[in-house]
């Protein structure tokens, strides 16, 4: 977790619409108060129940993005006494054609929610509309940036995890393992977020390919195919199951997932059972390896719980202020459930030898000796992303314009 004073400084700067200073690697974790909240000795103070609600774009049990958010909310309920959690999931035009985000939010507020979390970039406009209509309710738009751009009402905060690190680790694990030297990325839709995550994966993969495998970057194939949405919508998106099988048939032997659901690992597992050797790196949810233990190299995941707990307490205490937050891992232990927003669980398919190398890689990221967003870095069309000798700042990374040179796939629609 990032140092609080740095975060507030960052906030102040963004609100003045100044360019963010590069935070690079974060200092050691801020000591979040140990969750020794004795619920048994509940004094009269938190007598009033605090209800918070969540609008999720997909189902709460998708084994990915949405499940991670749901579990984050469950964490809050567990750790904070007197808190009630309600939610509406599957709020998307395919599952609920006549339900708009504003409507779902309205229902949650009708049930007494005082704080609303919306969990998709797609929900930005709806969240802002609802927030403007309910100035007395607090909103967290996860993964959004409307606070940064100044388009959000004052009761809205943005929260996102620095998954770039998780993806670098994922890319490294893939590059350490691939036999064919061919990595495939199952991409959702194309936007700055998904581009920067693909780029991070590629940077991690390229580094470990060159450093630990001793091979030149030109021998590493890295391809991304975008399905068009965060998950499969039959007849509208590409079918991720089919895309994953295309990867396998084209000889890619590690499938890295960037979508909310688990088709990548499921298909890799099937192919492996059928005699091929295909590995997978799922995404988003700590438990995602369960969909195919034998092929899982590990999973970069979000741990929303601690930040949601902090923000729920902030809202309850009435100390809410607008903020755009981008929380990194707790580098002293990226898998600490109480402090680290971003984690990486190694999977059973990662060999012990490669696991050791991966740990070394993580240690370099942690102590700041390695920053993969160091120039020179080039976009696909040859333009400069980060000039030689410079390090990309947060805003440059957040608003990544294109995929990096070396990646095969569409940068823009």
């Amino acid at each position: 977790m990032r140092n609080r004073s740095v975060r507030w400084l960052v906030l102040a700067l963004t609100l003045l619409s100044l360019i963010l200073t590069a935070c690079g690697t974060q200092p050691a974790a801020q000591p979040t108060a140990a969750p020794a909240a004795e619920p048994t000795t509940a004094p009269a103070a938190p007598a009033e129940e605090f209800t918070f609600g969540m609008v999720l774009v997909g189902p709460i049990n998708d084994g990915g993005w949405n499940q991670a958010h749901y579990e984050g909310a469950q964490y809050v309920v567990e750790k904070v006494p007197g808190v009630k959690f309600i939610y509406i999931d599957k709020v998307n035009p395919a599952d609920r054609p006549n339900v708009k985000v504003e409507q779902a939010i309205e229902e949650l507020i009708g049930q007494g929610a005082k704080l609303i979390i919306t969990n998709s970039a797609e929900f930005a406009d709806g969240t802002n509309i609802a927030a403007a209509a309910h100035p007395d309710v607090f909103f967290i738009h996860a993964s959004g940036d409307k606070v940064l751009t100044g388009e959000a009402p004052p009761n809205v905060r943005n929260l996102m995890g620095r998954m770039e690190y998780g993806k670098m680790i994922a890319g490294c694990a893939a590059a350490l393992t691939t036999e064919a030297g061919k990595l495939a990325y199952l991409g959702p839709l194309i936007d700055p977020e998904t581009r920067r995550l693909v780029n991070s994966t590629y940077l991690g993969a390229r580094y470990c390919w060159e450093t630990y495998r001793g091979r030149p970057a030109s021998e590493l194939a890295f391809k991304v195919t975008w399905i068009g949405f965060w998950f499969n919508i039959p007849g509208v998106t590409l079918d991720p199951t089919k895309v994953a099988n295309d990867f396998i048939n084209e000889g890619y032997d590690v499938i890295l997932s960037g979508i909310d659901t688990t088709e990548g690992i499921v298909e890799a597992n099937k192919a492996t059972q059928a005699g091929k050797r295909v590995f997978a790196v799922p995404y988003d949810f700590e438990g995602a390896c369960a969909q195919g233990e034998a092929v899982c190299l590990g999973v970069p995941y979000f741990n929303w719980g601690p930040d949601y707990k902090r923000l729920v307490e902030l809202a309850r205490a009435g100390k809410w202020e607008p903020a755009w937050e981008w929380t990194g891992p707790n580098w002293s232990n990226i898998n600490d459930p109480d402090t680290s927003m971003i984690g990486f669980v190694k999977g059973p398919a990662l060999s012990a030898e490669n696991a050791a190398k991966l740990d070394e890689f993580i240690a370099k990221l942690a102590d700041g000796s390695l920053n993969l967003f160091t120039g020179p870095l080039f976009y696909q069309d040859g333009t400069v992303f980060v000039p030689e000798g410079q390090v990309a700042d947060d805003k440059t990374i957040w608003y990544t314009q294109q995929l990096l040179a070396g990646i095969e796939g569409q940068s823009a629609p």
Binding site: V99, K100, E122, D191, W226
Partner: protein, 352 residues
């Protein structure tokens, strides 16, 4: 639907009353059967059917916001159902209504994106005309396929629906995509002053239901009070016979399709300027097909269109609360709507 049976009297009214009784018994039976089936589905999920019905039937009326959400859904629904009652009168099954709605929405976007600086009133008018023209054109293609290629309007309509969805997807991901991203969530929101005037707190754009009611009145009048309506109904009953009586049957059929398409197109326009304020891939949201159910249930009788459209819209809006309060899927509204139509059709078929 309170029905009182009266003893048959030995006068001229007798047969009429029997007819009325008979015509109401069948819907009543269908209603009972539909609720029985839905109750069965609810019981299988283990929730209290009474509680679920309370939400589905009356949930939409519990708060002003829900009520206005219902109205904003009922408006395009009524437009589609009204349009479909024209094609039904002409004996056509216009399953392409969904695509006509999408085509209308896309067409309505054109002036809004080309000249966003023009006065809003003019733009809304243009969007409405353009939407109606887009929907009508889409429907006329079906008519042409039917007339000249001998393709059933049902299959032509379904095909055109796919084509329209594809076109909407293409526009959202292609020419009209957001800056820097391609997302299926839709185009950028329209500038605020191009939204149809909306009561913010309620999300209610009063013009939408007014347009729908106006359409209902005009179509009712045209179908029942004009020679054109008479001819359309004659064509619907028997095109060959109507043709022998000097009615231009093919022309009338094309006109009904165009009229239905235009109304569906206006519904699509409302989805853009009054509901979503953007073009989204699923801009029709199944409202066209729901309108088909409304028209089927109303037997294209204009008197029933409004109440049934309002009822169906309430089911849909009311059911949004189901997952939240009872933990069951809101699809139960669809079960109820589908069962109602199914049993209504069965009841009618049995009498024939």
């Amino acid at each position: 639907m309170a029905v009182t049976y009266s003893l048959p009297r030995m006068d001229g009214m007798r047969t009429d009353r029997l007819k009325l009784a008979a015509s109401l018994t069948r819907p009543m039976l269908a209603l009972v059967a539909a609720f029985a089936l839905t109750t069965l589905a609810l019981l299988s999920t283990g929730v209290s059917p009474l509680e679920a019905y309370r939400l589905v039937l009356f949930g939409a009326f519990s708060t002003p916001v829900r009520l206005s959400d219902m109205i904003m859904l009922a408006a395009p629904l009524l437009l589609c159902a009204v349009g479909l009652s024209i094609t039904f009168a002409g004996g056509l099954y216009n399953l392409g209504v969904e695509g006509q709605m999408i085509a209308g929405a896309i067409a309505a976007m054109v002036p809004l994106r080309l000249w966003p600086d023009w006065p809003p009133l003019l733009l809304w008018l243009l969007a409405g005309l353009s939407g109606a023209a887009g929907g009508a054109l889409w429907a006329l293609l079906i008519g042409a396929l039917r007339q000249y290629a001998n393709v059933s309007e049902i299959f032509a309509g379904l095909g055109m629906n796919f084509l329209a969805s594809g076109l909407a997807l293409y526009m959202v991901l292609g020419p009209w995509r957001r800056q820097t991203s391609a997302s299926l969530s839709g185009t950028d929101l329209l500038p605020r002053d191009l939204w149809l005037p909306t009561i913010d707190r309620l999300r209610l754009a009063p013009a939408a239901p007014l347009i729908a009611l106006l359409a209902l009145a005009v179509v009712w009048w045209a179908l029942t009070k004009t020679r054109w309506g008479l001819e359309v109904r004659a064509v619907g009953l028997n095109p060959a016979a109507a043709g022998r009586l000097g009615v231009a049957a093919a022309r009338r059929m094309a006109e009904t399709l165009a009229a239905c398409g235009a109304l569906a197109g206006i519904a699509g326009m409302l989805q853009v300027v009054a509901v979503h304020h953007a073009l989204i891939p699923n801009i029709s949201s199944g409202i066209g097909l729901l309108g088909l159910l409304v028209a089927l249930l109303a037997r294209a009788d204009p008197r029933w269109l409004l109440p049934i459209a309002v009822a169906f819209a309430s089911f849909t809006v009311g059911s949004i609360q189901l997952p939240l309060t009872l933990g069951i899927d809101s699809a139960i509204a669809g079960v109820l709507q589908g069962a109602l139509v199914l049993f209504a059709l069965v009841a009618r078929a049995r009498v024939r």
